[in-house]
């Protein structure tokens, strides 16, 4: 993964995203060690503290866990956590889009909900 300092995403988030991708694709297995902050720093030529920030963010979310003196490991729930969060995120965004579009067209809340119900009913 190339780090892109010009993209709107801070580097430590890019690092976190990349590790998440690795977990989803199976590059990092459950209870397997991921790269250390120093390996990441050298690889992407960033400050180790920045890399550590990305790792600790994942640890805070329960995606990684720390073994003292050994490094960061992929937690058994990692895939589930990432999946849920990303899924929610994507869906939320789509809903927001729908609301914006509805407002532009002058639809009321009730009309929009009706529309969603119809769509869901139709799929059954």
């Amino acid at each position: 993964m190339p780090i892109n300092p010009e993209s709107g995403t801070p580097i430590y988030l890019q690092i976190a995203d990349w590790i998440e991708d690795g977990i989803l694709t199976g590059l990092f297995q459950e209870d397997e060690k991921v790269f250390s902050q120093y390996q990441l720093a050298e690889q992407y030529r960033i400050n180790p503290a920045t890399a550590a920030k990305g790792l600790s963010m994942l640890a805070d979310q329960g995606i990684l866990y720390k073994k003292r003196g050994l490094g960061m490991f992929v937690s058994p729930d990692a895939r589930k956590i990432i999946f849920t969060r990303r899924w929610n995120g994507v869906l939320q965004e789509k809903v927001r889009d729908a609301i914006t579009e509805a407002r532009l067209l002058g639809l009321t809340e009730v009309e929009l909900i009706t529309m969603i119900r119809e769509e869901m009913g139709g799929e059954k």
Partner: protein
Amino acid sequence: MEVTFQQVVRQYGKTEALSGLTLNLDGDKIIGILGRNGAGKSTALQIAAGHLKPSGGKVSIFGENPFNSLFASANTLLVHEGMSFPPALRLNAILGEMERAYPSFDKKLARSLLEHFGIPDNAFHIQLSKGMKNTFNMVAGIAARTPLTMFDEPLNGMDAGVRSDLLQVLLKDYIARPRMILLSGHQLEGMEDLFEEVVILHQGRLLHHGNADEFKEGFARISGPASEVRRAASKVQVLELHETLPGMAEAIIMVQPGTTLFMNEGSGLKSTSVSLGDAYVAMTRKKGGIDRVYADATDSR
């Protein structure tokens, strides 16, 4: 605290290079010292290295006043444009001299790096071109491994490839042997992602000191239709706003860290991050510049 500046003033005749700089640095970190030309970066570093005596205020490096301190100077090295070596020594002998002067100096590393960069070790320092001189100086600075190593505009005149390699070596060696490294510059190309902290000097004073990632997150660049940019900009602190194409504009704004910028869909506004270089330049822009930031900040209250 490794480096402490307290209300440090330095005058050159009538001009004031530092006008009350207060700064505290500690920890084995890579710290960027940023500022425009004449902001006082070089003077501050030369004072820290004991080369210059402050006109006023207090400076302490590893607990000692660096001016005429053997202890401070043995643990500090300043790599700068004016760095010079005994004129009769060839580069290889200079490395030997450095090894004798600094116990932590790694001659083997220095020699391998010189070979890598194609600098003949039987040359004299004054024979080297500007870029090669700076390369040699930086190699010497990295290999010295002094607990406080300062690089003042180290990359000037170097090829892009050499810069990139040197920064990679600096990072690797820093990871292997953590120490405090100060990197100053007004052009940052390639250095900015190495910083753990940034110090921004402006007109001889401290303008900002803090975590580099957080500092970067404090800025955003929004671009799009001029009217939309103006509307979005009216709610936040604006450092810079200018028209790009007729009817289009771009602005660098300050955002609260941790908050996401709210922007209407369909307004055509685009938000991107701001590089460290652009951020500090926008912050220290002369016209308007920091004064306007202050004015905008107080007006909006």
